[in-house]
């Protein structure tokens, strides 16, 4: 009996020790708050399905922060350096909120940048809003700036605006080549990004009196694309608008071209505007159009630093995250403080023109009361020889669009 009782006790105390250790470890504060530095939180999906986009975005932020530090840091704070605290949100909103809470509690970050995926950004914003800390993002689901939050700042246009631009720009490009679009096809993945952008496309088509002859959602990660392509062929559409991430975009375009469907394809950013698209499709990529939130050829003098350092062209999520970093640095400079209230006021008040802001359409960043950058206009890009060339709107275009009806 005695040994049994002792065994019971010991088992528990051993367990308790282990548990206490495991519990305490993550909370031992990691305050690396060096004098004269400003901690900036970066939350991105660095593992899981969106890891590549997360890594691109992190590279963009890293580049911008290094440039700011090399140029003498935040001058109004005595040359304080930007100190990035990078955290992996994975693909799970619960984890994204955990890391946001951690950066705020333990690292005293003055603002958070991220998190590429709209659902992650929305989840994080529930924390930053309650804590009054600015969240700068390039996620663009309509809800992000549609909830009346005061601490969120979105440097690009909204999803519904992007979807509408994807349609309107296409109509204009077709018209400029002498074709009147009458029948279009929409296919989109059934995610937040796919459905909200498809909504914008539908609105655009309705307003222009264009018939949507095919309107199909498909599950993310679809493996057999043939039924969709067959439907597209028999629909008689003059152009197709696929909205998808990389793998699906490769499947769709490859299947279309292999089956000899040559109608123009106008992608919805994401999978259509990254180097892997051209790598995966080779000659089939040539001439594919896509809407984009910004493009590297609009500011080659800035984006060259990225391709020199990382070996691929500066994809839009990298560019826009660099813009987030740049805007934040300028706001801290103007506020002469990292105090949340002053920083928020500076973000709302300023028109940011320096640094990476010049790479955005409109050449600057300015937020309205909802935190939306009012100057950002989506652009249409086209694949030419493994490069993305801005072809619309005409006033910023680097080349004329090629439209083969």
């Amino acid at each position: 009996m005695t040994t049994q009782r002792k065994a019971g006790l010991g088992r528990r105390s051993t367990l308790k020790l282990g548990v206490a250790g495991a519990l305490a470890a993550p909370f031992l504060s990691q305050r690396a708050h060096a004098a004269g530095s400003v901690n900036v939180g970066v939350i991105l999906p660095l593992s899981g399905a969106n890891a590549q986009f997360g890594i691109n975005a992190r590279n963009g932020i890293q580049l911008a922060a290094d440039q700011i530090n090399a140029a003498g840091g935040i001058k109004s704070l005595g040359g304080a350096k930007i100190n990035l605290i990078v955290a992996d949100s994975t693909s799970t909103p619960t984890t994204a909120v955990n890391v946001a809470q951690r950066l705020l509690t333990q690292n005293d970050v003055v603002a958070i940048l991220g998190a590429f995926v709209s659902t992650l950004t929305i989840a994080i914003s529930e924390v930053t809003e309650r804590r009054g800390i600015p969240l700068l993002t390039m996620s663009f689901a309509d809800q992000i700036t549609g909830r009346g939050f005061e601490n969120i700042f979105q440097v690009v246009a909204k999803a519904s605006v992007i979807g509408k631009a994807q349609f309107d720009d296409t109509l204009a490009i077709a018209a400029a080549s002498g074709q009147k679009l009458e029948r279009i096809a929409i296919m989109y993945e059934d995610t937040a990004y796919g459905t909200s952008q498809a909504g914008g496309l539908r609105t655009g088509a309705k307003n222009a009196g264009v018939q949507v002859v095919m309107d199909e959602a498909y599950p993310l990660g679809i493996t057999d694309i043939t039924p969709l392509i067959n439907k597209l062929r028999s629909s008689g559409a003059q152009a197709v608008f696929p909205v998808s991430y990389l793998n699906d975009s490769l499947l769709i375009i490859r299947a279309m071209r292999q089956q000899g469907i040559t109608i123009p394809a106008i992608g919805g950013a994401a999978g259509y505007v990254i180097p892997d698209f051209a790598k995966g499709l080779g000659e089939y990529a040539e001439g594919v159009l896509s809407i984009n939130l910004s493009n590297y050829d609009l500011a080659p003098n800035l984006t060259k630093a990225f391709s020199d350092r990382f070996g691929y062209f500066m994809v839009h999520e990298a560019l826009e995250h660099a813009v987030c970093m740049s805007v934040l640095a300028q706001a801290i400079e103007n506020a002469k403080s990292t105090e949340p209230d002053k920083l928020r006021a500076a973000l709302h008040a300023g028109k940011f023109t320096n640094g990476w802001c010049a790479a955005m359409t409109g050449g600057a960043v300015q937020f309205d009361s909802t935190g939306l950058n009012t100057l950002s206009v989506p652009v249409m890009v086209q694949w030419r020889n493994n490069e993305l060339v801005t072809v619309w709107p005409a006033d910023v275009a680097k080349a004329k669009p090629v439209w083969k009806s």
């Binding site: 040994t3 049994q4 009782r5 002792k6 065994a7 019971g8 006790l9 010991g10 088992r11 528990r12 051993t14 367990l15 282990g18 548990v19 495991a22 519990l23 470890a25 993550p26 909370f27 990691q30 660095l46 593992s47 899981g48 890891a51 997360g54 890594i55 992190r58 990035l84 990078v86 955290a87 992996d88 693909s91 799970t92 909103p93 619960t94 984890t95 909120v97 955990n98 890391v99 809470q101 951690r102 705020l104 509690t105 333990q106 659902t119 929305i122 989840a123 529930e126 809003e129 309650r130 804590r131 809800q143 059934d190 995610t191 937040a192 796919g194 459905t195 909200s196 959602a217 599950p219």
Partner: protein, 323 residues
């Protein structure tokens, strides 16, 4: 162990659990992680009723979790019904769903049951994703921001959540322990040891398993409401997630010690902080390293002792006793 000692230990553990948050910053990160530990312990405990007592490896418990989360949140958003009231229809829906899915699947054994439940969770995700008018579709659903308070189940600080999660864990654990020591519990264990023998001595195996599944599903749905009010925003991919909910709750129970009363609690106390620690230590290094390290740790634990951490603790003690 003598009952007196056992109760003393339980009382001590409770006292520690109640005292802990007062030593931590109330709005902070540590309290949030502890909330998740308690929530996931409760979820794993609810799973344990089916997975542990009846040995039916469900990999679809996210279905009930999501039903509860959506149930109360939809009632709140559309009709302004307090989540405390919404909790009940959510739990009822979770129980009914568990009953419906159990009717055909509880006749399956082993891998087939696991696969069937896995598919059910995925079907629920697709339903929520497609039925946009009701659920908000893939864009997700937000709990409306309101003035914090107990009545609306919203708090500014983490501390009230901590105590609610603790209460939830205690309730679920009490139900689990109650079932375990009841006639139902003995029937379930008879089924676990040998279904054919159980049937031969007159246990209605299918009915017994269905009762366990309904209780488990309803509790899981109730915890879904807790999650919704804690996280404020979710989408179908989050609450019906296979890796983040279904597999994780099973994993917590298995790593802790499946079928035991404190196994899920030990599992959650171990897994949730370890995952955070891995994330915190490695996520600013190579991308994805944190998840890799976490995965490797899990593999090591299960290779070392497939019966879980409780068993490792026992073995450690025996080994120490010998030297």
């Amino acid at each position: 162990m003598k009952p007196a000692l056992k109760y003393a230990l339980i009382a001590l553990a409770l006292a520690v659990a109640v005292a802990v948050p007062f030593g931590l910053e109330p709005r902070g990160y540590a309290t949030r992680i502890l909330c998740l530990v308690l929530l996931f312990a409760a979820m794993a405990q609810a799973w344990n009723i089916v997975g542990g007592l009846a040995n039916q490896m469900s990999l679809g418990h996210a279905a009930f979790f999501g039903i509860g989360a959506y149930g109360s949140t939809i009632l709140l958003v559309k009709y302004g019904i307090s989540p405390w009231l919404g909790l009940l229809p959510g739990m009822a829906a979770g129980g009914v769903a568990a009953w419906l899915i159990s009717l055909p699947t509880m006749r399956l054994r082993g891998h087939y049951f696991a696969l069937a439940t896995l598919a059910f969770g995925e079907v629920m995700r697709l339903v929520a994703n497609t039925w946009g008018g009701l659920t908000g579709g893939p864009s997700g659903i937000s709990v409306p921001f309101s003035k914090p308070g107990l009545a609306v189940f919203q708090f500014k600080d983490m501390r009230p959540y901590y105590f609610l999660m603790l209460a939830a864990l205690l309730v679920v654990t009490a139900i689990f322990a109650g079932i375990r020591h009841s006639k139902l519990g003995y029937r379930l264990r008879a089924i676990r040891e040998n279904p054919s023998a159980a049937e031969a001595i007159g246990v209605d195996t299918t009915r017994t398993k269905i009762i366990a599944a309904v209780v488990s599903g309803a509790l899981m749905a109730g915890l879904g409401t807790f999650y919704a009010q804690f996280q404020f925003f979710f989408d179908p991919d989050t609450v019906f997630s296979i890796p983040a909910i279904s597999v994780r709750v099973a994993m917590i129970a298995i790593v802790g010690g499946v079928g035991t009363t404190i196994g899920p609690i030990v599992g959650a106390l171990f897994l949730i902080p370890i995952e955070e620690l891995a994330n915190q230590t490695f996520s600013d290094q190579a991308a994805g390293l944190s998840q890799l390290v976490f995965g490797l740790l899990l593999i090591v634990v299960i290779l070392a002792e497939p019966r879980g951490l409780l068993e490792i603790g026992r073995r450690l003690w025996r080994w120490r006793g010998r030297t």
